[in-house]
Amino acid sequence: MSAGSRATYDVVRVRKDFPILSRRLAGGDQLVYLDSANTSQKPQSVIDAVSEHYQVHNANVARAMHQLGTESSQAFEEARDKVAAFIGAPSRDEVVFTRNATEALNLVANVLGLAQGDLGVRAGDQVVITAMEHHSNIVPWQLLCQRTGATLRWFDFDDDGRLDLSQLDELVTERTKVVSLTWISNMLGTVNPVSQIARRAHEVGALVVVDASQAVPQMPVDVATLGADFVAFTGHKMVGPTGIGVLWGRRELLAQLPPFLGGGEMIETVTLERSTYAPPPARFEAGTPPIAQAVGLGAAIDYLSELGMAAVAAHEREVTAYALARMREVSGLRVLGPTEAVDRGGAVSFELAGIHPHDVAQVLDSRGVAVRAGHHCAKPAHTRLGVQSSTRASFYLYTQPEEVDALIDGLDYTKRYFGGS
């Protein structure tokens, strides 16, 4: 982190924007929220944007022609502009609002299964994922394969949580129709070399889907140069509301794909015999969209943009490096994933010898330290590492080093609590 950006990034000031961070828990403990990879906290500006929308502008979009309807539609479409600009989308029409990242990934898998012609996934085709995917980037492809007769294959990863790229040419072949992978693992923290994999995929004519659920919140993203054809992410992990996610897709691909869900907004004309469909993004947004949530996501993007994503990424790197260093001091602690803050996001999963993650999390919680215990929706990654579950601490733009200290103190206490009796 350069001295320049350090000077401008003031985490103490940032924390004041998040009302929940000053909350006292049972017993008067100060909240130490280290579960941001699960969901992020929300700044007051996002909360206010949602409230204000309901209080002043609320109306349905697109179909309402009155003043409130116009205001609401503008606010909703402005949010689409903000998302497009934030991720460097060449066109606003490439931004589809969904419920969450999960729906975005299912949307792609479904329409590829339904597509006629070259884009369609069919029996004999192959879909390639990785062993470190979130369930939301595994199950949709399993369902697609079951429904079409395609075959699912996957990249393995090594003990440090790095993808085994020696398999690249052998896994991604002429038979590959889709390669779908996470940019940053929510369990291991690994940042994957998306562009390199995308290059190979495109060589063999496969489409590339990127699960950017952990990436878009943490670092500057430019979909135009990433090499992906589709990118999915979710509002609630990037200081935005729940109930909204995004699918970005290349315009010419979206234009060729059939609809996913049917209903209001996604049609051109409807008769009882047959319907025709609107162009993207409307084609993929059936029914009343998450309007107030889009407005909230727009406010979240404003917030992130004001901090600057480069500064957010630098802060994340710095906190993660500090946490990894301090974790090395804890005997019996084994980090699952890269142990250095290089090509690494701000989620650190670990084992504590002889103590089940539930019990670790419970003892930490009794001290106000909120972490996650379990498989973090990445059971295959745990299986690969031979562990049944783990504890995960994850950091974000409001995390301070003192909170990492509280975690380490809590881990020491946990060992005493279970070891001592």
Partner: protein, 158 residues
């Protein structure tokens, strides 16, 4: 915003007495466009004579704005050079998407300047553009078809 800013006298006149209405022969391309938000529809034909827009005819159901707009379009482009007509379509599009901040050129857009106020009513911009987008679509198709016919003819000759 006052209603009269939207419903200029010129617009109401065209609405009540639309020009160029009714589908006519001959034509080089016909399109059908719909405004999905409200269901307004237009069927529009374009006939080209070399590089001139020889005729525009249409059958449409819609509101005052969409009806008047296609009427004005006909007045403006029929008889014009193709490039010039396309340029006018561009100008009208720019005017509509200008949030009411674009100053229209009355010498070029003629009666279409009356639509300047529509740009301030986002809900109605699609109404004003329905006929113009249909015209552009039909014209592009007509030009493409002519090019295809010409190259087929050339191949036959060769």
């Amino acid at each position: 915003m006052s209603l009269d800013m939207l419903y200029q006298e010129i617009i109401l006149d065209h609405y009540k007495n639309p020009h160029h209405r009714g589908l006519r022969e001959p034509y080089d391309a016909q399109v059908h466009h719909v405004n999905p938000a409200c269901g307004d529809e237009i069927t529009l034909r374009v006939h080209l004579d070399r590089d001139t827009v020889a005729d525009v005819s249409y059958d449409a159901i819609g509101c005052s704005i969409s009806q008047a707009s296609v009427s004005v379009l006909g007045d403006l482009v029929i008889g014009k050079d193709l490039d010039e007509a396309m340029a006018l379509q561009e100008e009208f599009l720019t005017l509509m998407q200008g949030h009411g901040k674009v100053q229209p050129d009355e010498d070029r857009l003629e009666d279409a300047v009356a639509f300047a106020g529509v740009a301030r009513f986002p809900g109605r911009i699609k109404c004003a553009l329905l006929g113009w987008m249909a015209w552009k679509d039909a014209t592009v198709q007509a030009v493409a078809r002519r090019a295809a016919t010409a190259s087929a003819a050339m191949e036959e000759e060769s």
